[in-house]
Symmetry: C2
Subunit: 711 residues, 2 copies
């Protein structure tokens, strides 16, 4: 198969910047999808030629119509198909014959309506592959490009948005209309606006790569209901962030089981655990947003204001209460309140009345007019301890709201530090807010809402400057021996590998395992124990026994050959008594580990992201506090350290309660190796190391038990 | 002193419903506080007579002015003082002479500007007490009453709000103007609107009691920066909720240390721990809100819609994406998605197109017009498995927004179940939203925002129907012996009571202590040990030794008289070696407790709420996870159980990991007794029981160590 990624990239350029567009299946009925789309394209003032294609009409909207797209004599760059799903296939076939490479399929009635629709989608894809076509949709609202050189409104949205630097990509078409309405009221403009629907051909990944190079786009917003290619999405996000420094903001719905099942009935998707999605986004540098409002709150901070050097802000307010509320929210978000320099304090004292509070948060007092705001803002901007400003206004009877808004814009333009505003209220402050928005000063309805956007911008630039967290891991180490063992188990229809078998496999990837041997007689047990060195532990090995302790299958603290021989007999006796006739593979004799902290490592398969590594501290921490962290493989050492530090109980590893710090070096290396093992063995469905015993720093860690479940 | 609470209650009635009002210190200058207030009162159309009082003017706003308030011949019900702080005292004195009992002091320049202002405030209070005056303020925006029989606007707010059933009380004046502006744009009306400023005389507690009986008020909103009388606030809240079933919503700022210090510089308040504030509000049935938007989101749900029976909702949407996002948010809030009855499913199937999703969340599909919404809403309303409805709309080109809004209002009026709406977008949906608001259908900008209000209303009514959590505890058991011991310690200037002394005090309140005796010789130790019964523990007792283990001051597992005598010598030896010449009170011999779960109980003094009881599970749970719960004394047994269940690790007590459940009965009783002890001994600054050993259910719990710090 050809590289459709490259093809899509090329075809997307034509799709957004077509010199000619055919609208296939349009008609004269306004207020319907087929009718509105043609008019929308026509009226958007595209620099190119638009051809209506309709089996029945001679002309539409004053433009000569064609019966079939192949009837058009000139070359056509883009086709928009608005026929019902039953006819869409034929229309696409004709596009192929006509040599059109870029297509938008608006038509609904595909995968979202069940099996029959799914089959129709497959047919579309086959035609696209045959003719090297790239298509967006089906089941979508369409595509908008606000670039003046190619104003394209190939959608049935009511509104054409203002020009701006935010790209919005959405799997839900209906949400798009709400977003366009919301953004218009907030004076937010877009660069590209894409409803990609069922993403049968072009996916969010292709769009991300396209937008990476789009000069008009500074921030990418994405609403997703299903993640079909998690690793691909992560890679695309990393590439975009690393190469273009454009932040990616995502809303991913289906966080709960009920939500996921609602999404499934709506998109036919299969959802993984939401915690894993969280971890994957974090790992890829993607900013996950809770809702549309938060998404735009953060987006405007990225687009309109410079990045802060550090995270020390000054709050300037004409009302004490909101100043306190904002301080609370700032501190909770991890923002610091700037400590003013002496110079700033003096400047504030000089220009503000004696009743004002000249400490941060600065209270310019209820009767403040523009001059006090300007004085306070300038002083704070000049202070090198201040990295950004939050300006709050409440409408008092003497507050000259519009003048203050204008003056804020003027002062802000003189400094290269971010400034955010919150003019509280609604009706009275509306005109002031519009002035701020026109001057690209981010405005937030609630003053508390300034905090999260500020921190997200700050953290994003910190992350870019480090860049280590978003580079990729080393090549995967491959073990033929491990594969052989797994294949042989699969061939004998074995799904569960017990400790000895699992240990053999993990040791292939250099995970720290204990010296051990599988024995089948008391004599052999004594001999192996001697070779290993005392003390040893002995455990029964059987495919059928999962909880070895419950059947008397484990004996600890064995200190001599005689004890080892005795233990062999005792274990086999006990097991045979409790589970008569059970098949056992032998008794495992292994070195007894000194005491240490017991942690849990695991491999899980996620339907969206593939191999996921889990880490937690054993016992109650995992069971009761669900204190675990996840990352998608491959995992580098720095990411492994992140995983370790992310759990709340990590303090226990770092030396809490008077204990020495544990060997997190060894632990991190083990996580990296486990991630390698996962990638090298797609047939492993689940692997549990429980526990991994972590000793003091420098003394290593050891796999004390492991099991593997195969696919 | 007289009962000023009763006085305030009577005077507040006159304050909100005056037949005559004097505005003292007003003038003719509009755009200033003194000038605007008079005009505001005059233009609000009060059913009564208004007297301007001004030293210089003959008339103001066309009304004859008086030089002094005492010059007015007729009786005056309410005085509003707008003079500067320097003259306010004289004005108040004259009010007293004139026999005016209700006063609003707008003037600023008191406690908020420092010590001098504080003294002025004290003077005001003295005058008020002398003349039986009740006053609101100083340093406030004023008071508004929207009741048509007494439309009072004794404030310098720009706007007079619409009539409604929400009372708003605020410590911050500037916030009030923002709230009035915000509410107007959302069509939210108020019953009473009070800015109470420095609350020198009338506090939020007096206002709560007044509003409890105010027929116009259904919900009370409170913005607080400082809590001066925590127990009083809790009692008032409980009374209001219990007697009038009116919910109380509070924003309390100063959550973080920085925020609290900003609030302190702004109000001169002293802040306690925010977690304690959280616990106290919960205990009193108060609903704490994060911000103004959330507060009004919840308030409109209370005011405009009936209460739900249970928490099973139906979501009806014309867009799948927002339906999924709302499902996620609902489940996370603890809401259940209703399972439709067969009848409902049939009804939906009949009235919706085949492409619609007839399961919950119901998707009526993007091209839905009012008829589909009405059909789906009616079907859901009729279903007895549905307790409430969330209706979502996105503006598609064919969506008849206003008709849908009207039809929703019509259908809603036919059923006694709550319905909330979210018309997404902004400009296009604005007229539809206004229709909803006019018909008292709560509307939320984000569909996710419907969830928290629904749950808060549901929980509030659950709580009222139980009512047990908000009744008060039994009378305090008093111990003369404990008082004697504490007083004797205080008299000898002793601040720290060690285990033996602390145990003697806690045992006075029947907390489960172990048999023990303080011994001063090896022989005595042996004898006491024998009397107690083996095994025993022996510990050094000294005011100077806090960490007994570190000085070899503890020996466990003593099983005979000889061992006891030896232990005595060993401990005294070790302590004298490490801390030569230290004064010790003796060696405590006590029964050794069997192993059990170690929990921590404590008494803390909070500057706002007084005696607070803390509970947590020992070790890492408290140290690393900060997994503790607080309640304000007095604590009843059901509240003690709440405390126990509130911590995350409570599963350990209830029998996790194959262990038997612990004796939480005994633990809860011990918490109740400790709360009693706290109330009976105001001189105890801190008490720690660490650990309390909790055995299996039925086997009790025991204080294994305790210490007390006195004031």
């Amino acid at each position: 198969m050809k590289d459709r990624g490259k093809l899509h990239h090329k075809n997307l350029q034509t799709l957004f910047y077509p010199k000619s567009v055919a609208v296939i299946g349009t008609n004269k009925v306004t207020g319907t999808v087929p009718g509105d789309i043609f008019i929308n394209i026509l009226h958007a003032d595209l620099q190119g030629i638009i051809y209506p294609v309709s089996p029945r009409e001679k002309s539409i909207g004053g433009v000569k119509a064609y019966k079939y797209v192949i009837d058009i004599e000139e070359e056509v760059d883009l086709a928009v198909i608005v026929f019902p799903s039953s006819v869409a296939k034929l229309a696409l076939e004709q596009c192929g014959q006509k040599g059109i490479k870029s297509v938008i399929i608006i038509s609904a009635g595909f995968r979202e309506v069940g099996e029959k629709g799914q089959a129709k989608e497959k047919e579309l894809l086959e035609i696209a592959e045959k003719y090297d076509i790239s298509f967006i949709g089906p089941n979508c609202l369409g595509v908008i490009n606000t670039d003046p050189v190619s104003r394209l409104n190939a959608s049935f949205a009511r509104k054409f948005p203002a020009e701006g630097n935010i790209a919005f990509l959405s799997q839900s078409g209906a949400l798009c209309t709400a977003v366009l309405d919301y953004a218009q009221a907030k004076n937010i403009g877009f660069s590209k606006f894409v409803s990609f629907g069922n993403k049968t051909d072009i996916s969010e990944i292709d769009l991300l790569y396209y937008l990476m190079e789009d000069k008009k786009t500074k921030v990418i917003l994405l609403y997703l209901e299903e993640i079909t290619d998690g690793p691909g999405l992560m890679k695309a996000a990393r590439d975009v962030i690393e190469k273009s420094h454009k932040p990616i903001l995502i809303i991913k719905s289906g966080r709960t089981e009920e939500g996921a099942s609602a999404a499934a009935s709506h998109t036919g998707s299969l959802a993984g655990k939401d915690e894993i999605c969280d971890a994957a986004f974090k790992q890829a540098g993607i900013i996950r947003c809770e809702n549309i409002e938060e998404m735009f709150n953060i987006a405007i901070a990225f687009v309109y204001q410079p990045e802060p050097k550090l995270n020390r802000i000054a709050i300037i307010t004409n009302a004490g209460g909101p100043g306190v509320l904002t301080t609370d929210a700032a501190i909770k978000s991890g923002i610091h309140l700037a400590q003013f320099s002496e110079e700033t304090t003096l400047a504030l004292k000089r220009s503000l009345p004696s009743t004002a509070n000249i400490n941060n948060p600065v209270d310019v007092i209820g009767d403040a007019r523009a001059d006090r705001y300007v004085a306070a803002i300038s002083a704070a901007f000049k202070d090198e301890n201040v990295d950004g400003l939050f300006v709050i206004l409440t409408p008092q009877s003497m507050t000259d709201i519009n003048t203050i808004a204008k003056e804020i814009a003027t002062v802000a333009s003189q400094f290269d530090k971010p400034i955010y505003t919150s003019f509280m209220g609604e009706a009275d402050v509306a005109s002031g807010i519009q002035i701020l928005q026109k001057h690209n000063i981010p405005h937030y309805i609630l003053p508390e809402s300034m905090c999260k956007p500020f921190m997200k911008v700050y953290q994003f630039h910190q992350q870019i400057s480090k860049s280590e967290t978003i580079t990729e891991a080393a090549a995967v180490y491959k073990s033929k021996e491990a594969k052989k063992r797994i294949n042989s188990a699969l061939n004998s229809n074995k799904k569960f590998l017990h400790e000895f078998e699992a240990t053999q496999i993990v040791s292939e990837y250099k995970l720290p395992v204990l010296k051990s041997g599988l024995t089948t007689s008391a004599e052999e047990a004594a001999e192996v124990a001697k070779t290993i060195g005392f003390p040893v532990v002995m455990k029964v090995m059987s495919e059928k026994i999962v909880h070895k302790f419950d059947v008397g299958g484990v004996i600890l603290n064995i200190n001599s050959e005689i004890e080892a021989a005795e233990a062999f007999l005792k274990i086999t006796d006990s097991v045979q008594k409790i589970l008569p006739g059970i098949k056992i593979d032998g008794i495992l004799v292994s070195k007894q580990v000194p005491e240490g902290l017991e942690v849990i490592l695991g491999i899980k398969k996620d339907p969206s992201f593939g191999d996921v590594i889990m880490f937690g501290i054993g016992g109650i921490f995992v069971e009761i506090f669900k204190d675990v962290s996840f990352r998608v493989a491959p995992i580098q050492k720095n990411v492994a350290f992140e995983m370790i530090q992310e759990i709340k109980a990590s303090k226990l590893l770092l030396g809490a309660r008077g204990k020495k710090p544990a060997d997190i070096e060894c632990l991190a290396e083990t996580i990296v190796k486990l991630s390698n093992l996962a990638l090298d063995n797609p047939n492993i469905k689940e692997l549990d190391i429980n526990p991994l015993i972590v000793l003091e720093l420098g003394k290593g860690c050891f796999v004390a038990d492991a099991k593997i479940v195969l696919k």
